[in-house]
Amino acid sequence: MKSDFPEPDDIFEELAEKVATAIERGKVVSFKRSLEEMERFHQFLLALNSARSEDGSQFNYAQISGGLWNEPHRTWIRHYRRLFALAADQITENDEFISTLAHVPHHLFSFSRTYARTPEITSAVLDLGPMMVHRLQGWRSKRTTVQVPLGGEAKPKLDLAPSEARAYANTLPSLIGAWEALVRYAPLTFEWNKLRRQKKVPERWTAYAESWPFFWAHLTNTAYCLAACVWNEDEAGASAYLDALLSWRSALRHELDAEHFYTPYHRFLYPTMFRQSWDEVEGRVAILVPQRSVHVSPEAVFSSLLTSAHNDVILLTAQLFLFWTVSQKQLTDIGARVANRLLQLRPAEHGDEPPSTRPLSLRSRFLDMMRFEVAPVLEGETSYAADLDHYIQQLDNMTERHVVPGRIYTPSTLHGRGGLMSSEIAILAASVPMTGDDGLRAYMAQLSANEALWPAADDSIRRLLNHLQRILQSLETGASSIGEGVKYVLNAEYPESLPVLSNILKSVVDDVEAARRSRLRERAIDQQKLLDLSHLFEKRLLEEPLDFPFFEAFQVVRTEDSGGGTVLDVPISNVQKGQLTTPPMDYDLADFAPSLARSADDILWRTVWGNFLQKPRQIHGLDMTIQNVAFWEKVSTLIPQVQPNSILVVSISSEGSVLRKSLYGLSKVSAGIKIESVPTKSAKRNYIATVNGIDVFGASFPAGVSWLFSAEMLQQIVFEKLPDTNLYAAIKYVPADEETGVLRLLAKPKLDWRDTPIFELKFLPSQEDAD
């Protein structure tokens, strides 16, 4: 009994059981009391696990799974799932259960007990919203029927019974209200008033940054709820959550809009700025805000970022819904209809009235979409674009087919925004004006002329150009889905839009590329980069041990004297100039500098071997094969002349193969020949075996030819300083044209050889060679 202590999970489950029992019995008062007890216990557990790490940041031990399948805080959240399902079942009888449960996230944030609201905990609590919507959709699916009017054609219309539909429609506003209350009360939860009164600007920025995970999770979950309704073809739910998503930003208008600031380049502000200090943010904003503008506060930047994120989520959600309809993932066109309303920012309550706001121009649409592509990438490959990819992946994941848990399968859903290109093009094409380009070309020309405006300078521009090239390719292949998408967005055919869009985008690409090339031509090579490369090359040659085939125990020295050495000059052609500018104007080739340094060995080896080949050789003709004992006896008579450390180099393909076969017992060896592989030598390059005490190496020789010489013939390599420099090895860039050039790897080595002979033995190829 003593060891049977209940764990927090057991207690949590029992509290949930009490709530569930009250729902099943229809006891509202008991339900509310039990739910409050459960919520307080949940808060207590979160508070008990709260901690501060050594750097002062908040941390929650409930995030440590300790090898378990789920993190404890996720397990606690899952207890609510059953309650939502039970409460959904009671909607027609009593909707108070589900309405009260809809306030759980709000309660968890606003009770008096404080706990570490880390992004993970916040996100888990806000996941209660989508969890509830999924349970509601589950309830709805159980009750929907296919309604076919008498005598009418069969059509896939799924609908609830009228009484249930009414009850559901009556419940939705209270659920949406509870969900929106989270944002409405966020200023109180995060104590913004106190923050503004008492804190200094950098601290205020940090506090806003800490609240960002909450707003992002709420925004994306609102869109997720909408997506769940759209996917389940729930018209009433979709209308309610469409309104919630469109009016999401308005809940904070009274708090933040007083601090508004204007910049024509607001699209270049990204939420990744929340990871930066206020000084860095201020620096960035100063570039984007015209000089005449007033002082920019953290609230203003925060407000601007919230607005941008809201627009992004609306745009991407619309793209996804359009994709669902066009790719025929759904029976009805609800996806396209909701996408249309999202694009027009037209809430469902306005019915089919024409939108009050003017449709966005091609320029605005293009800039809104371009924003995703040019987002900066931070350390650790994190970026806002990656967050959006994750968001799309999550949303589309609900359309995944049923899979067996634990089985490896290929997901059929989207991994990110890449799969939405046809929707993106369709939306752009639908915005194409009958004449002109809405000033897009001129605006882009102006933007591309000023590299500093772009979030990641030339890197952003390169990414945009790449993306535009992909769009142009798609337009050329002319996928039918694009045309269909345009039809859905416009509610009309507009076949001329695609070639017009293609022409506009081509001219944009040309203009941006031209501006970029002009900058590249003007930009000088960064001499420091070249010098760093030279030092790397020099270090590899002079300081690290060189490993050559055949030769060993030689020294590498440097001398101040000059004369005697020959300049080694190896060109590497077609090197992009952009690689060597600061900031770089070309894609960072992986391992560019280290691979250059690594090639130093090979370059020097070619010089050494070339020099060795020019040395005189004493030729001995032998009328025997390498398998004869007499051959090895002859070799042993020559060995005293090629000391120290004599080696025999044979053809790697013929004699090398014969020796290896003998070594592994695959062919017979004459008596008196002892072949072995010495473990300490087996790591040497091109080593084959040791025969009668002689180390045999392989090279690309013809069959029947071998060389006998001392492995220590090369005594030292002396590096002299290169003329007009202070370096022993250097890399120089010679422009070939305005954008490419040649890298010259330079060194001046002098080789000192020992005065021992080289014997060239010519013998008969063995029978096995012919085989």
Partner: protein, 378 residues
């Protein structure tokens, strides 16, 4: 980056986790608010004896000590010792009658206490069963010291009943070794009285907990107190232990100055399985079921850093040979999981590429992984 020095000189994993949990409980406001008070802890300390057998055994030990003292007193001059003690305020001839009367009252009181406790437990159990509140009842039993109190009451009642006959003293008397000038029985009666008083206080505590338990707010407090003091430290330690053991893979090869994350040149994994080679670098044979209980991470780190440096030298040579060398990243891994019973010849460490471990290093690694015998469940 984990500072293993906090786990003592050898960087013990368990010591490190204990320290972390202690610091967390001290600094966390929710934990501080729900800690047991000192009198409460004292009471729990006494009742940690917990079972009937242990209570009776402890009393028998006390009794035997008293008997031994009586024998020694008789042996070494009872009269001289009696002179040093205060005089007994009642005639020695009436002593047994007094004792019998008082014991009778004590038995009466004890029976009364036991019935109150038993009825309360029964009632709460019945109510809880009706409300489907099994875990709450378990918490209540624990927090009200119900089992311990019943055990203590029953044990005292048994002792009082048996001591009506004073079995040990009777045997002494029959052997002619009982004291006539010093009163040992009243000392034992005093023990009974103290025990009964503790039981009385605990019954008061029990009743107070019972009454509080039926109120929602107080029940929440009792629940929270139970979690903070009983389950949370154990549960958090267990989670932290497993988490820190597996995440050490990321940090153990890094020095304080280096960035976080896995070392990109050499890798170590704890509690992970790969495509394992036939021969383990280090293995141990256990004749009984054992479980990995603790790891001296400081020692493991010292060994692995030496191994890494040697391996990287070797890697550089290999890279030159092959021109690339990317595929020969030195890797070492310890497949043993925490809390997973093993028996027989068990691999402790595998290695792929990199330098070989020396004999001393292997010896240290074997010392660093501490196993503890566990009961066979077969």
């Amino acid at each position: 980056m984990i500072d293993w020095r906090r786990g003592g000189p050898t960087g013990s994993l368990n010591a490190w986790v204990r320290r972390e949990v202690r610091v967390q409980l001290r600094s966390n406001p929710a934990a501080r608010a729900a800690r047991y008070t000192w009198p409460h802890r004292l009471l729990r300390g006494f009742f940690s004896i917990a079972t009937f057998t242990r209570f009776v055994s402890l009393y028998v030990c006390v009794c035997l000590l008293v008997v031994a003292a009586e024998i020694l007193a008789v042996q070494f001059g009872e009269q001289e010792i009696a002179q040093w003690l205060p005089p007994v305020p009642w005639p020695m001839s009436d002593q047994d009658t007094w004792l019998l009367n008082i014991s009778g009252y004590l038995i009466g009181a004890q029976v009364g206490l036991l019935s109150v406790v038993s009825i309360s437990i029964a009632l709460v159990s019945l109510i809880a069963q009706r409300e489907n509140a099994e875990t709450d009842v378990k918490v209540y039993y624990h927090e009200s010291l119900a089992f311990e109190l019943v055990a203590s009451n029953v044990a005292l009642l048994t002792v009082l009943c048996l001591q009506l006959l004073w079995p040990f003293q009777t045997v002494l008397s029959l052997l002619g070794a009982s004291a006539t000038h010093i009163a040992f029985k009243p000392f034992l009666l005093g023990v009974h009285l103290v025990w009964l008083t503790v039981n009385l206080l605990t019954v008061a505590f029990f009743i107070s907990t019972t009454l509080r338990f039926v109120q929602d707010k107080s029940r929440q407090e009792i629940r929270e107190r139970y979690i903070v003091n009983i389950t949370h430290p154990v549960e958090l330690s267990e989670r932290l232990r497993r988490s820190v053991y597996s995440t050490s893979s990321l940090s153990i090869l890094r020095s304080a100055g280096e960035a976080t994350g896995q070392d990109d040149k050499a890798a170590v994994f704890f509690g992970s399985h790969f495509d394992e080679p036939q021969d383990a670098v280090l293995e141990a044979t256990f004749h009984h079921s054992v479980m990995l209980h603790d790891v001296h991470m400081g020692v493991v780190k010292w060994v692995l850093l030496r191994w890494k440096n040697r391996s990287l030298e070797k890697l550089r040579d290999a890279a030159r040979d092959e021109g690339m060398g990317g595929g020969r990243r030195p890797l070492i891994w310890f497949p043993i999981d925490l809390n997973l019973p093993v028996q027989g010849t068990t691999p402790i460490c595998f290695q792929r590429h990199g330098a070989e471990l020396t004999r001393v290093e292997k010896l240290l690694l074997r010392y660093a992984f501490c196993f503890r015998r566990v009961r066979d469940e077969v």
